[in-house]
Symmetry: C2
Subunit: 330 residues, 2 copies
Amino acid sequence: MSEFDLIRRSQEVICAPGARYRAQCVLGIGDDGAVLELPPERQVVVCTDTLVEGVHFPLDTGPAAVGHKALAVNLSDLAAMGAEPAWFFLALTLPAAAPAWLEPFAQGMARLASAASIWLAGGDVAAGPLNVCITALGLVDKGRALTRSGARPGDLVAISGRPGAAAHALALLQAGRVPDARELAALEFPQPRLELGLALRGLATACIDLSDGLLADLGHILEASGAGAELELGRLPCAESLAGLPEPERWRLQLAGGDDYELCFTLPAARAGELDALQRRCGLELTVIGRITAQAGLTLRAPDGSPYRAERAGFDHFGGYRGEGSPAAS
Amino acid sequence: MSEFDLIRRSQEVICAPGARYRAQCVLGIGDDGAVLELPPERQVVVCTDTLVEGVHFPLDTGPAAVGHKALAVNLSDLAAMGAEPAWFFLALTLPAAAPAWLEPFAQGMARLASAASIWLAGGDVAAGPLNVCITALGLVDKGRALTRSGARPGDLVAISGRPGAAAHALALLQAGRVPDARELAALEFPQPRLELGLALRGLATACIDLSDGLLADLGHILEASGAGAELELGRLPCAESLAGLPEPERWRLQLAGGDDYELCFTLPAARAGELDALQRRCGLELTVIGRITAQAGLTLRAPDGSPYRAERAGFDHFGGYRGEGSPAAS
């Protein structure tokens, strides 16, 4: 299979028939670039994220999971911005053009592309160590994108879902054990919270996705907003698979695990009552876990009210796991 | 240096102060995505291209050249579409956050970004084998993008510059020899033909950049346009460094070498007279090397008029160099 056959074949599999912005892709795959026609009165949100074999997923991860996850992490960024998915570009570096790997990879990506109604508009294929780089474009009404910088003292901090399941599945795999199917799905087939992101426009004051771990990601909100936060560990919703773990171990996974692709957002305390309707509408659990403070830094409180010090803040590609202390203070 | 320091530092170095579309980057680096505001009545051209160490550049290539070339190959695609550079996104995978490598890499990229007036609007950094993936966004007036599909029988085929110098420099390096400075610059610091691309709007009927070699790239135009072509080898402009080579060796480099990032375009024969003014305006040599034919396939003619059969058509990442025969017929 040549480079050109490979691009054509991926295009056939991945181009989702139901994608909304197909018609606005004036010129798609097959030229030096794609030409896109943008709706007036909209802004474009662009996210780019790469998955590297052995770094973002274990070496023996199935190709369908790699295809799904590479797109999911980018859609999760669009969700965190409150953007509607429109088009994506796939730059794929892989050791060999093996159809037995490529076909399920493309199908894993195609299923999610179809569900998210996003259109593959271009790409690039090269030989080399496995690396999947996706750039996703989404649309928002002018000035309505969710950002990290709007959290204000008194705002509540909320999250979707139950953090830590993906990190727990990874820890089991690394220890040579087998996670159950639901845990493994949390790690390999994360679901981007697109509907929630769209619904949070006009409600959330700041939003981010939980890719690097709750402490690191909330730390980004605090840094961008020039604020601090207090979290109550007793409020952290606990995934079933974590229920049997000792608290410090469970909190470590929930606070620093990452790879969950749930959303963490802040909202005015006066509007907390809207969360119930929102969670029913999106079919997601939404939980208030703390509050934004005027004083910088992130304080954790154990269920007995005493301050709690986290072991590590989150994943850093070149620092490994970051050390003790609050990420907002770093 | 952490992942976050690294992103911040690259941003400081690479964000070109003169970039035209800086103000339309409503939200830049530092959130889950960038937010871009597009001028009305324009379309967006999106190109994505990856450089892999050992595949797109030799292992010991200097970091400034890697930074330059990764952006250049994408700008060259924008040039081939007749698009004005606006924003780019850098997804960088690298083995270690070594400032001694990263600083000149960022500077090499920054110099070209500044010259092309393109704004770094976002990115991603990960640990892994060196891989530089860039997605570049450009703008064109509605319906004015150059494509590969407009070549018509009777049109002339023209190229900018003198193909083969980059391939010759690479061949010397691979043979353990040292190319002279100008040859090496052709390989390591190719100049995207942005001004020419813009000037060709309304004149060229089809356009592509010479990244995979003249035969392969012209083959793409022929395939997209449903036409054939006849090229006269005697008209191929010969770079100084190739002048001493036997003709078959020289033609091989000129026809299948690639990596030149010059433009190959077609234009109505009646407008050939405009090429002189165009080459003066762009400071580039433009040469008519053949003609589009109604009959499919690519015919090469030696200077004595006899048909010439090329050894290989161009580079294919998974097929290696493609075999004999016309790429248009494949």
